[in-house]
Assembly symmetry: D2
Homo-oligomer: 335 residues x 4
């Protein structure tokens, strides 16, 4: 019998992607939780039958016997909903930034708001399976990683762990994302005429995803320069990461570090030297594609990391976490 799982915030871009993936997942049955009617009812089709719907309340979650509830909601809503879901017997995968950082102080510093559930911060498992696979299966609360940190940490941490980076010279991560990363709420900044044929940097050195990278990679803030940019596309993140190698290393040396670290990982793909991913390569997949360029003589190195921000950067990784929590094969229902 399939597990039943709920999705709150299913009208947002990450939530809708979750619905899309879960509708084709062979082992679960999705239920749409109506937290707030945003008035956009989607396509209106005669005789159409979509997934089952229920209110987003503890009573309904209990009555629907939901094993897991995905919260694709703003951080402040997730803080409010998570305890209610636990009360109703469900476990939670939260896609917001609410439970990713370890301390309320760090949360306050980067999110500019008081954390209302500090106890859950300590409890939450960080849902980056490639590095935190142990704690996820038994967790009641999984904090699904941010989109930028997913691409960054999968590229950076193996190299830092292996001592391949000259940390004193600093690491630069120049990150570019499609507009769906900004969410579905209309704003002038994400209006079509403002975004098309345009490109811009934002949150220069101060993006709230920075502390997630530091937390996972072990870098210090002074070692890490991060700038986000808005691409005139719907989906996809590409990060270009610059550093100096610690000692004389070649591209093949770095690839070998990744190869060893990611042996058996279903969602990490490495490129031969001289090749690099574009966003089409990862679109609508749960892959993180990584490529390496090195000028060995001068120890300058560049790593390109690409994901689909709505899949490996959000809904796909959330399903990967769900698979671990429910004891399914980790790549079940994902491509």
């Amino acid at each position: 019998m399939p597990h039943r799982v709920g999705i709150a915030g299913h009208r947002g871009y990450s939530g809708a992607e979750l619905v899309r993936i879960l509708q084709h997942h062979p082992r679960v049955e999705p239920v749409l939780l109506e937290h707030r009617d945003d008035g956009a009812a989607g396509i209106i089709i005669r005789n159409a039958q979509g997934p089952h719907r229920a209110p987003c309340t503890a009573e309904a979650v209990r009555a629907e016997k939901l094993a897991i509830v995905f919260l694709a909601t703003p951080a402040e809503v997730s803080m409010e909903l998570a305890p209610a879901m636990f009360e109703a017997g469900a476990r939670v995968v939260d896609l917001s930034g609410a439970f990713r950082l370890r301390t309320p102080e760090n949360y306050a510093a980067w999110y500019g708001a008081v954390h209302t559930q500090p106890a859950l911060l300590a409890e939450a498992a960080y849902g980056l399976p490639e590095f935190c696979r142990d704690r996820i299966p038994g967790a009641r609360l999984v904090a699904n990683p941010g989109c930028y940190p997913t691409a960054a940490n999968l590229a950076i941490r193996p190299l830092v762990e292996a001592g391949a980076v000259e940390r004193a010279a600093g690491i630069v991560c120049d990150a570019k994302s499609g507009a769906s990363g900004a969410g579905r709420k209309p704003s002038l900044k994400t209006s079509f005429c403002e975004v098309t044929e345009n490109f811009s940097a934002y949150s220069i050195l101060r993006h709230r995803h920075v502390p997630e990278v530091l937390q996972v990679s072990g870098l210090e803030e002074r070692e890490f320069s991060f700038t986000a940019h808005l691409l005139p596309i719907d989906r996809g993140i590409l990060e270009t990461i610059y550093f100096r190698t610690a000692g004389a290393l070649t591209a093949d040396d770095l690839l070998e570090i990744y190869n060893r670290r990611y042996a058996g990982e279903p969602f990490i793909r490495l490129y031969h030297a001289g090749h690099a991913p574009d966003l089409h390569a990862v679109a609508r997949t749960n892959f993180c594609d990584i490529a390496v360029t090195v000028d060995a003589a001068t120890r300058r190195a560049v790593v390109v990391s690409a994901i689909d921000n709505l899949v490996k950067g959000a809904a796909g990784q959330a399903v990967q976490n769900m698979n671990l929590m429910l004891g399914y094969p980790e790549s079940e229902g994902l491509i």
Copy 2:
């Protein structure tokens, strides 16, 4: 009486932009030089009257009494045409990479081809008016700068000159360009379906525009990491430049360096701290917009530099050079 000026390669994107600008220039009369019929005749309109046309030969250039010929042609064609234009009494503004580097060795190393006019390399004036204004008015041959180096050098050189950059830590220039920078010749890489909703890095650490940046900025190759990216837009270049400040400097300190260096420059615009240009701000203008972000405590600095690759990065700067060569006000006919 207006000067008459010729445009070879007027069907390419830079050439067409030149025609557009020159048709509204109050002091010159453009003549289209037909070097090679590429079969695309443009819009076909009854009774339409376009600019005058002539063959791209020394005889025709002499007969048409052209003061200046713009070569918006591939480097190898420019090398072939430039001497013929001189013979016909015209001066040349070349928009290709043929005459930008100082030595044939450097050209061979980065362009992978033998330079057939080495004497002209020594003669050519580099057409970045903000830094090379003295030599341009009297030059017979002006090498119009590359698009990426224009945005990079205008951002980097004032800081390097002022000693504001800790060069030992390296400078990263992450550059993004619209597809018109790749030229008009059809290729799979610039086909619509390959570019739309996509983004990719290319020429990582090895772009042929790198030596132009080194030549103008005074940096060494080992100090400078450059990666080009293809944006799914028509036009525009945005470069995000990362470095460590030499000593404790604020954003206002860096802005003051730019302010002093660029006092009176008509085409450099600076942003208040906390603001940065997007590509719409510079589209179809000859401006280079520059913004600065600094985290003084850790000495991490980011400069954003934006231009329209077809204007300040090609045709607009070529007209700026023409204005200097013909003794007109430098911003005549440019906005």
Copy 3:
């Protein structure tokens, strides 16, 4: 001495285009009228100097000695502002739909609102110079045409006047517009992720621009089927118009009708048979490009009409009207 002219609604897309055109107009000096602060202050540049600004009040308009005020405001705001502008001694070019229809009844039927200035409906001159040039120079109030009707009427009316259309069979106008036509106010419908890689029909058979076409072309509603579509581009309108010719006419016959009707018109361009405009041909120009295809054997005819919705469809035509009102050459400051 140049005339001074005011622009209310200068932050909207049509208003900003007006500012762009008027800043390069050789005979007028634009003044930005601050009707309501929408909070978006545009690019922030050190030492930049923009156009003069003043409040959008009768007192300020009088003090600034504005000859003409452009209202690039919503219809209900235009109805409120126009009398105040007259009081201040200014004439008005209104870019909204407020004054285009002849009767308050027609306005109520299509706009779903009561017209609060019915007397001005009778007074207003319809600002389509190619057909209403006589009344514009002396008008106190010019109603600048809608974008869709401009492209439609310029294509349809000469053929209807010449009796070339079999009206009983009906005329179909399939119209497609870029997203700037929907205005700058953020909404889910015009969010980037909803528009990119998308296309849709809207206001099928019921668009509020329909009565303008009927009024100018002389067609009856039952003879005219109009559907609007949203293109994933910033600017441009292309209309594909289908009808049956009255009698055996060729493409050249129809072109001859246009040729005669539009002899000397600076902004109408006709294409040779076998060619048709795309939106790049008219982008950022005040042209309306028209092409004809006919299958004479079956009397099926197709006319393609293309404009830039923000120029000939809004700001450019408004300046064309201003030129007529102030006695300047009609194409002054327009390309």
Copy 4:
């Protein structure tokens, strides 16, 4: 045991979409047939394992025991390959225009070339399951319909069959397609800079897909006006179809005609009156979405029909045909 099926032309856009669908189809195993190396090898990934590959020859097809070969090749290549595939014991689903029309004369008239396999024209089953389901299961050769005709015929034929259209007044089909419909071969017309922020009509009244619509719908050429347009998007076709109803019919009357005709059809979706599909609704699905608007008083009717040109308009419909040929459920492996 799964059937093995071959794909010739798997590097084109339709062919690549076929590979994508077939890789997730639960009952077949795809084999890539290498007909001609186009030099673009796709993404280069260490240790990646793609589908099996074989030469596109009769020997290889026999040796690989392919039950069906999909020809996603140009018409002239399909004419050449089809007999070789039969010889090797395979059945063929051809995605080109080679076998869609019934007579060599009609082919010559619209494709401007001599048909080299006229006998196969008579044999081929037209692969539009909703109307030709009977002949497909037993066919040796299925001609997969064109993309435009699929959207047009699914919308038009039920109404013509039901006598709901006043044919004497003519039917207009204004069709818009994404650029992938033009194929993957680079050309100036489909270069990014030419397509982005652009829109154009082409093949006005003379598109080679017209005879397919006539053949299936039963309309005469004089009754049917068709114009194709190029949308600045990757994929999707939306057709806006105008006609006069035969007698006083409402939108619900027309919807009822569709409802009856398409009862049980898995891939046809109808919209409630007042709603209409956009291209996002059908992207990456095998659905054809249909909506109806009627002004009963004047008998003007508009039908909007939307598909993904690469799915229901090509690869998805080809798999639907394959399912019928191999006796699988018709929607197996399709969403």
